[in-house]
Amino acid sequence: MFLDAPSVERLIEAFRKLPGVGKRSAERYALHLLSAPEEDALFLSEAVRTARERVTTCSICCDLTETDPCALCTASDRDRSTICVVERPAAVMAIEKGGTYRGVYHVLHGALSPLDGIGPDELTVGRLMKRIEAGGVSEVIVATNATAEGEATALYLSRQIGERGIAVSRIAHGVPMGGGLEYADDVTLSHALQGRTRL
């Protein structure tokens, strides 16, 4: 459709690389930006550029941050003996929204997946082990996703960390709070039953 406009093709290609964006959406976004006021479009490119320039990964927890170490790693009221391990920065945000976790984090930037060529070296596992070896850590909570890859990552970490005599726990997967049992899907419900706790 844009045979005469290679620059537009390039823009569409750029959008297609984003997660969850297909051909149709990519075209829609590109066309929107091209017909929007120029300053709106340039605002986006400027925002991308500044964020990219300012944001790095925290040298302690590997989360995305503008200051290194990040605010969570330097906060005085966080319990540094408990580390919650997650796959993505988004998970940190989600847990922080909950507001009850007082420990610190470690972001792996993915999960083990041989099919995608991702082993421990492609993740920040080495950095996590160094943190643990440095001492002062008494518990590691593995909060990777409830997928085969997230589960494999959790099992691998528990073997690596468990050898060092540190408590490793896995978050429970269960029914959403405030929702009736009848709204939980069957698989979630049976997992919640398997992971039941004694009262």
């Binding site: 083990l112 041989p114 085969a148 890859e149 494999a152 099992l155 691998y156 698989v187």
Partner: protein
């Protein structure tokens, strides 16, 4: 449960088709290539979002068309279930009672069907993979937890095989992380398959005896891993050969199902008629099993079952089918069959994709 109405548009050769069967036995008559199998296939597709003839959904859309629609209205004992499947250029949307399903797997179990198709004879004669597919399809329909375990298990096998590929010797901790999950999900598969086959074996034997008098059918689950040996131990023992072959050599993805007629493996020794009867008996047993689990009979579909049976077997089959389940049966025999089936059956004629009640 009873199918009240089935509408097909652009599904194979069927367009503007409206099928309103009666609660009991319905006989759909028609010459070859008139759309009989397609009609049953459409109901199977509404119930499971799968076809028995193809895994390519583009085969289902009418030649030259870009979309198809299948809608089924089913009366269950306590509620009505309306399923609509809209397929448009490779995108499938499923609605149940007007609500869009976010995952197609949520469709399973909304309505239950048991289907005997021409391809099913392969269950006895064909590969173990075909028999595992039968177990997986039926168990997925009966229990959502099974489908989840199956999907996870398959993904773990894929990941683990990748780790083993090319004779690499992976870090034992890394391999162990996948092994442990094979054990967790694999044991669910084995346990459910064992229970399913056990509860199927008795009724299958009974149904077989009723249709083929004097012969005895046994159905047995043949798991790759023997009972009592923990999966993780088997994996540890086969680790070297797994590494040598670059894949996961043991586990429920190697399971099989065995049919014995009068004590002999039916795969090698039974006649074609015996093999068909064995599969038919299995399907009839499933009917009882689904009734136990779902609380009511599923819809029974028998495609072209009569043409291969002699009058005696047909008559006996028919008395079994009259158990109370709604039955949709196709045949190429256009002659009067009142003598065989009795007058209480409802007859339909299909010609060139057009259906009329007779």
């Amino acid at each position: 449960m009873n199918l009240v109405e089935l509408n097909c548009d652009g599904f194979r050769s069927l367009s503007g088709l409206c099928f309103k069967p009666a609660p009991g036995v319905n006989i759909i008559r028609g010459h070859n290539a008139q759309g009989k199998t397609s009609l049953l296939e459409a109901l199977l597709f509404a119930a499971t979002s799968k076809s028995h003839r193809t895994s390519q959904e583009t085969d289902l859309v009418q030649h030259g068309a870009r979309e198809f629609h299948v809608a089924a209205r089913v009366q269950r004992s306590d509620r009505e279930v309306a399923i609509e499947v809209n397929w448009w250029q490779g995108v499938k949307r499923v609605r149940v009672n007007g609500l869009a399903l976010s995952r197609v797997s949520d469709l399973l179990g909304k309505i239950n069907v048991v289907f005997f198709s021409q391809e099913d004879v392969g269950l006895v004669r064909g590969s173990a993979a075909q028999r595992r597919r039968f177990l997986d399809m039926e168990l997925s329909q009966l229990m959502p937890g099974y489908l989840h375990a199956l999907q996870q298990y398959r993904q773990v096998v894929r990941q683990r095989n990748e780790l083993l590929r090319g004779g690499r010797r992976p870090d034992p901790d890394l391999l162990g992380a996948w092994d442990e999950q094979l054990g967790t999900h694999g044991s669910v598969l084995m346990e459910e398959r064992r229970r399913f086959v056990e509860s199927l074996a008795g009724p299958a034997q009974e149904a077989y005896g009723q249709v083929a008098q004097g012969e005895r059918l046994q159905v047995a689950y043949r798991p790759d891993l023997r009972d009592g040996v923990p999966f993780t131990e088997v994996l540890a023992a086969s680790r070297d050969s797994d590494i040598r072959q670059g894949m996961t050599t043991r586990g429920p993805h190697r399971d099989d199902l065995e049919f014995l007629v009068d004590g002999e493996p039916a795969r090698h020794f039974a006649s074609q008629g015996q093999q068909r009867t064995a599969v038919l008996a299995l399907k009839l047993a499933e009917l009882e099993l689904v009734r136990d689990r779902a609380g009511e009979y599923p819809i029974l579909m028998l495609d072209d079952v009569l043409s291969e049976l002699d009058t005696k077997r047909s008559r006996r089959l028919f008395s079994v089918v009259r158990c109370g389940a709604q039955c949709l049966m196709t045949t190429t025999d256009l002659g009067s069959q009142d003598a065989l089936f009795g007058a209480e059956c409802v007859y339909f004629l299909i010609r060139n994709g057009q259906l009329v009640r007779q």
